[in-house]
Amino acid sequence: MYVLIVGAGRVGSSIARWLLAGDHEITIIDNDPQRCSAIEDELGGVVVMGDATEATILARAGASRADLLIATTRRDDENLVACQLAKHRFGAQKVVALVNVPEHVELFARLGIDVTVNVTELLVDRIQEDLAEMMVEDVGGF
């Protein structure tokens, strides 16, 4: 599978490693030179530096043959636009977006984003689980 990953932060780079380990082909797009060179040092020539909300950058990253685009930046607007361009201009099969603001989840789904990952909800659920465990342990200690 050929996968475009938008954002070379912790989420994007972890997904990149995982996909490469599974023998998939990837390109990561990020507009930060430092993050780009760090990824290049680690994973080789899989980086396109630039703004993934610009069609020229998506084209350079090979969006027209991408099976999947995963947008992982902290900005919901950029994740949405990158996904919409990939889908409507380049015919990407599937697009996945991290959604940082929970109230955007429903809109993104309605706008044709195939998979939305509600980051905030995941974190809150996890913290609540851990807290619940801690509270049980505390009670048990007495």
Binding site: D76, V81, E103, L107
Partner: protein, 148 residues
């Protein structure tokens, strides 16, 4: 002149403007003079400094501190009751998100989105948004001037 809600009867028609830069501020002034109540959002309090204080004091322009890419902030500005929505921040992606919330979630009758990027402009025109591009406006004017 006083633009009114179709059917609403009372009060001036509302226009919600996202982004209080030079363009947003100019539009707010022009539309308030045309009889609209102009609600203008920005995430920076200092952005409102360029608005004429007289129009704010008279209540013709209402500055609202808020994020135009958030439905909750837009509802706080009563955007759901607006007849016109204009996204004119300096950021194309933010404008595209705001305008799609206004159109698909708040169902505002007229939604206008400023986009500098011409590929985005063409795509969102195809996705039911009305877009305006300074880039193509300037290009067309220069071509006209060249030919004229």
């Amino acid at each position: 002149m006083n633009a009114r809600f179709p059917g609403a009867g009372l009060g001036p028609a509302r226009v919600v403007i996202v982004g209080c830069g030079r363009t947003g501020a100019d539009i707010a002034v022009a539309l308030s003079e045309a009889g609209y109540l102009a609600l203008i959002l920005d995430t920076e309090m200092s952005a409102f400094d360029i608005l004429p204080s007289g129009l704010i004091e008279d209540g013709d322009i209402q500055p609202i501190l808020g994020d135009g890419t958030l439905e909750s902030d837009l509802r706080r500005a009563f955007a759901q009751d607006a007849s016109v929505f204009i996204a004119v921040s300096g950021n194309d992606a933010a404008n595209a998100l705001s305008a799609q919330i206004a159109h698909h979630v708040l169902h505002i009758p007229k939604v206008i989105c400023r986009l500098n990027d011409l590929v985005m402009k063409e795509m969102y025109e195809g996705l039911e948004l009305t877009t305006v591009s300074p880039t193509s406006l300037v290009r067309d004017l220069i071509i006209d001037a060249t030919n004229g």
